[in-house]
């Protein structure tokens, strides 16, 4: 009798409601990038315009904040991608003294509340008298995104047949050549997914960054700062561009993997 409820029209309406719930906020953000707003507040529709795309880099502080965020995100992606992949490889492949504790620490870092992590990182930096700024943000971002990379890569490593590496060794490849020619290409999809996750986590992080930024302003911090005086439409445009780039990467990933499956 319950099945009737979720069949036919009821299910259709419910599905579209859920999709709308997910899509409407993004659509509003994109839409207000085209709003010909006159005042400081970009909340009422006043007509269509492309001008904010032309005047994208007009606000120097915002542009600098975006550049900071992108540089930090790329650094985080590279550093956390490399270190996290190695941790994931070790956890997925070997049983070693302390591997259980390391696993636990990884999951603890993922499940830890950001506010707690941000506060403790701050007290850590203050205790060690590390001046807050660009590099403390990078260190914090690497620290919290490394576990996501490790977990993603570990999942990939677990599905790997370990005899592949043995075969490479058997055919005369030393440990490094085996890693370069066999292990890395095999786990690369995991490494890529993990690194992109690190990039995504870094570029929109607010809480932890806010604790440890010192005088450095990132994209989310800048937006937070101007909330009370009105968010300029350039923010919507930048948000739209970041969203579209992300979407393109996701779509191309699907296309490539589908083509590969059909090949």
């Amino acid at each position: 009798m319950n099945r009737g409820l979720f069949r036919g029209r009821g299910l259709q309406i419910y599905t579209w409601l859920v999709i709308a719930w997910l899509v409407v906020p993004i659509a509003v953000m994109i839409l207000f990038g085209f709003n010909d707003t006159k005042g400081r507040f970009n909340t009422v529709w006043q007509g269509f315009t492309f001008k904010w795309y032309g005047r994208l880099f007009e606000i120097d502080a915002l542009t600098q904040a975006l550049i900071n965020s992108l540089v930090i995100a790329v650094l985080t992606m590279v550093i956390a991608g490399a270190l996290g992949s190695l941790i994931g490889l070790a956890l997925g492949r070997y049983r070693f003294r302390g591997s259980g504790s390391l696993n636990l620490v990884m999951f603890a870092a993922i499940s830890c509340a950001e506010i707690v992590m941000g506060a403790s990182l701050l007290s850590f930096f203050v205790t060690l008298a590390v001046p807050l700024g660009f590099w403390t943000i990078v260190i914090s971002h690497v620290m919290f995104s490394i576990s996501f990379v490790a977990v993603t890569v570990r999942a990939r490593v677990m599905t790997l047949d370990s005899s592949l590496e043995e075969a490479a060794r058997d055919l005369g490849a030393g440990p490094w050549a085996t890693f370069r020619l066999v292990t890395l290409p095999m786990i690369f999809p995991g490494v890529l997914a993990g690194s992109m996750l690190a990039f995504a986590l870094s570029i929109d992080d607010f809480v932890i960054t806010n604790f440890n930024a010192g005088g450095t302003v990132t994209f989310p911090l800048w937006i937070w700062g101007v909330t009370r005086v009105g968010i300029p439409p350039q923010v919507n445009v930048m948000g739209t561009i970041i969203f579209v780039v992300g979407l393109l990467i996701a779509v191309s990933n699907i296309v490539v993997s589908r083509r590969r499956r059909n090949a």
């Binding site: 047949d161 043995e166 075969a167 058997d170």
Partner: protein, 382 residues
Amino acid sequence: MTEIQAGTGVAETAAPGSQQVPAIELDNVVKEYTSHGEVVRAVKGVSLSIAEGEFFSLLGPSGCGKTTSMRMIAGFEDPTQGVVRLHGQDVTSVPPNKRDVNMVFQSYALFPHMSVWENVAFGLKRKNVDAAEIKRRVGEILEVVDLTGREKRRPREMSGGQQQRVALARALVNRPRALLLDEPLGALDLKLRQAMQIELKRIQRDVGITFVYVTHDQGEALTMSDRIAVMNDGLVDQLADPREIYERPATKFVAGFIGTSNLLSGVVQEVTGSTAVLALGPSDRVVISTETPVAVGDSVELTVRPEKITIATEQPAGDRSVVRGTVSEVVYLGTSNNYAVVLADGAEITVFQQNAHDSTITAERGDTVWLSWQPQHSYVLR
């Protein structure tokens, strides 16, 4: 005179073989693992030497230590004790990439991100062989395994049999001093497996490389091997050629593991020179050789192969070993009739009777029959 000539002849043919350095030697090799705090002895002291160009099989049930022994030859496991020698050189602590042997893995372990050609060329590239030579040798070996024209395929686009041959080519192209095969036919269906058995034997004869073959399939081992080491519980029970293993199993385990065999036990009644007579039941008389010394009153276990036994409804004459029993089952198999016969002491004996004549069934269920065989077909078990 003739005896002396024959003797020197044997000595001459045996001499080069015995003086030659063995391709592979395991010298009292032990392998222990620690699993959940408990020490597990996978290999409990195996010594064997495999001659150059030999097709050598390690045969046994799963968990007998055969794969671990092979992995110690390849270098993937370090022996806890003992020495591994390849062509007389101690390689116990040499890593696998520096040992001149190659392995064919049970799962084939083909690199999925490389084409067939790249897979096969992998080993040669690692050894910095020049490009023209790589091209020539890869082409040559792909011809041997009948995969010419499939160079650009990915492993997953190929059938199991083809993948198997790629794995074989990838190992053989390096011209290793020995090829190690870990249950390579296990994943193939029966027909393909039988075809590959013949194919493997042909390739081994063509390339003249020492093959070490790990299998749990006794038929496979008997068909292909020059010699077989039957392993049980971390030890070699018997090391001999297939005929010897089948005809003269040394232990109860070997007798039971290879083919069908009948186990009999009895007490020694009299010993006369080179033979002894066992008593099993009334009117039973089993003659054994005293190669293994026995005394009157000893309890002895022996084995007889089912095809050596003749079944009759009347007591046979002569000095054949004879036991009496009741037919409990008759199975017609086309090429043979199989009888199950229960003896007075409850032991069940299987008899294969070839369907050579029109005479179909000698005895029916419930008949009392005499089973007899030549004295030399009884083997006393250790």
